[in-house]
């Protein structure tokens, strides 16, 4: 039974998504309940899967019994299992959060909304597990098509953002497919392990270099890496408030995971192709993203826009950790990925509550509510500490291990980039807090309703998770460096 867990984890949301339009045709209020039950089951199954992987080692799953080079292979290793727990928990929280906002924000398209969310989560599960380059492409596209539709589901200004996202995302996917066909043409296989085995003979092939370049650009667009990030802030800002907290932490992070898979599992990480060490490339792109993303966030006044640019800079910090090429940096990068996903979810929950409950869109509005919104301000302070990276939170320990890894590798410029990005993050959170605490209320304060239980739950759980990740950082990083490291590191 336990070796079927990867397939079960994928099929749970997929079957629920397919049956949703039929089951909920007449009973719309069932949608959220079904999604909640399915995602709760998925959380339990993913924890079981992680336990199983830690106990007995990685699970290799081959579809319909075709042996590896011919069949499609999925591997539940430590990294995939940890990310999957994160994915299902954040998906569950996102659906809990959706409850009160949905009728107003989605314009009655509730069935479509839950179907697409479950489809997105099953596609992301596929990306996390897949060890086949083309399989990865299919799941990237299923996930991407669901996200285009989710961004545009409520209509209005989001439609245009969704269209731009679609154009750029499809360009990225086409480039990725082109790169995959180059790699297939030169190596004759699509399985990641198989390509890795044949790689030493191909190092001087120009087709390999071209293919990798196309794959990197394609996935770079998907994960909003800095020169290709143009679609991301708009799409996440104008998307309905209940959708950004699901898209923002998951879609870009999972694309980043696919990139890490290709760099470490297909290519040997220490590889030098035409005098360019791959890891140096990752490191430099990460530094650029970390600093530029944070500087752009500083210039924003719309809070969702600011958080989206913050996410771009944090992708850079993760890449700096991944790019150090030593176990400390890699474990730190993956740990920071977990933290960043939780923080992004928390930030967009905050932005959602701020708009839905208090009508706040920009920093200037924040001062208006100030002390009347204890849940909002409290969780914003906690997430702020995490984003800046102050000690009790997980954000601090993530950056700490990344900096340790960079020092170990002797990369002092990376250390400077992390510190600079931290200072810029501090600057834009100071700007945010100034909006809340300094500003005198300019107009008579209206009374606001008590915020719904599900908002309190999501804000409370994400804030608590940021603290818990910090307090238990040592065992988690230990687990990651025992279980989640790539081969040869």
């Amino acid at each position: 039974m336990s070796h079927q867990l990867p397939a079960i984890l994928f099929l749970l949301p997929l079957f629920a998504a397919i049956s949703m339009p039929v089951v909920c045709l007449k009973h719309r209020h069932w949608c959220q309940r079904i999604a909640l039950v399915i995602l709760a089951a998925m959380v339990l199954t993913s924890i079981l899967n992680l336990h199983n992987v830690v106990r007995h080692g990685e699970v290799r799953y081959v579809f319909s019994g075709w042996a590896v080079p011919l069949g499609i292979e999925w591997v539940a290793d430590g990294l995939a299992s940890v990310v999957l727990v994160l994915l299902s928990v954040l998906g569950l929280l996102g659906v809990v959060f959706t409850g009160p906002t949905s009728p107003k924000a989605l314009g009655g398209r509730i069935v479509h909304y839950y179907t697409l969310i479950l489809l997105l989560i099953s596609a992301l599960t596929g990306i996390v597990f897949a060890r086949d380059l083309f399989n990865l492409f299919v799941f990237l596209e299923v996930g991407a098509i669901s996200s285009y539709a989710l961004v545009g589901v409520a209509g209005g200004r989001a439609l245009f953002a969704a269209f731009r996202y679609l154009i750029l995302g499809t360009l990225g996917a086409s480039l990725y497919l082109l790169g995959v066909s180059y790699l297939y043409a030169v190596s004759g296989t699509l399985n990641m392990g198989d390509i890795a085995g044949r790689l030493p003979l191909l190092l001087h092939s120009k087709a390999l270099v071209g293919g990798l370049l196309f794959i990197f650009i394609g996935l770079g667009i998907k994960m909003a890496l800095v020169p290709f990030h143009a679609w991301m802030p708009e799409a996440y800002t104008y998307a309905p408030d209940s959708i950004s907290p699901i898209l923002a932490p998951l879609v870009t992070k999972v694309a980043l995971l696919a990139w890490v898979r290709i760099i470490y599992w297909v290519l040997n990480a220490t590889i030098v192709i035409y005098d360019i060490p791959i890891l140096l490339l990752v490191d430099v792109l990460g530094m650029l993203a970390a600093v530029i993303g944070a500087s752009l966030a500083l210039a924003q006044r719309n809070i969702k826009m600011m958080f989206a640019y913050g996410g771009i800079s944090h992708i850079g910090i993760i890449l700096i950790g991944i790019g150090q090429g030593n176990p400390t940096g890699f474990a730190g990068g993956v740990f920071y990925l977990l933290n960043d996903a939780v923080m992004q979810a928390a930030l967009f929950f905050i932005a959602g509550v701020a708009f839905f409950q208090y009508g706040i869109k920009t920093i200037d509005d924040l001062g208006r509510v100030g002390k009347q919104a204890p849940w909002l301000v409290g969780s914003l302070v906690v997430v702020g500490l995490g984003m800046i990276g102050l000690p009790p939170t997980g954000g601090f320990f993530g950056k700490w291990y990344i900096i340790l890894g960079a020092l170990e590798a002797g990369n002092y410029i990376s250390v400077i980039a992390v510190v600079l990005s931290t200072l810029l993050t501090l600057a834009y959170f100071v700007k945010l807090f100034e909006g809340i605490f300094r500003q005198k209320p300019t107009q008579p304060e209206g009374q606001f309703d008590e915020i719904p239980l599900s908002f309190k739950l999501t804000l409370g759980i994400t804030s608590a998770a940021i603290m818990v990740l910090g307090i238990f950082s040592a065992p988690i990083v230990q687990l990651l460096s025992n279980q989640a490291l790539p081969p040869g590191l």
Binding site: F134, F137, V138, E141, A144, I145, Y148, A149, G152, G155, G156, R157, L159, F160, A162, F163, L166, I167, T170, L171, A173, S174, L177, L178, S181, Y184, A185, L190
Partner: protein, 125 residues
Amino acid sequence: MVDALSAVFQRPNFLTFVIIFLWGFYIMVTRYNLVKKLIGMYLVQTSVIFFLVSISAKKGATVPVLLSNTEPVKAASYANPLPHVLTLTAIVVGVATLGVGLALCAAIYRKYGSLDEQKILERME
């Protein structure tokens, strides 16, 4: 130079791929009409599919169904089915993306009364 040129012209399929790809990309970047952008996007997708088909073409090969059970299998006389399967999947993905894109276009047209990017941006302010 002559060598490089002759290498290019001996592979007309690659040349065609590059032309279609760049043509689609050019349309995507320069046109303001959203449907034209979608056409450019579809050209880019189709060019990649064309590339995938053209690298898998094989002279004198037949469909990969065994002709007889008794004779030993000669791999050289069969075409590799995998790229064709990949192509089919890629076509399905492309059609799905195009469908979502056209639906978004229709919704944008209903809301803003135009498909011109600049007019839409003006009306959004």
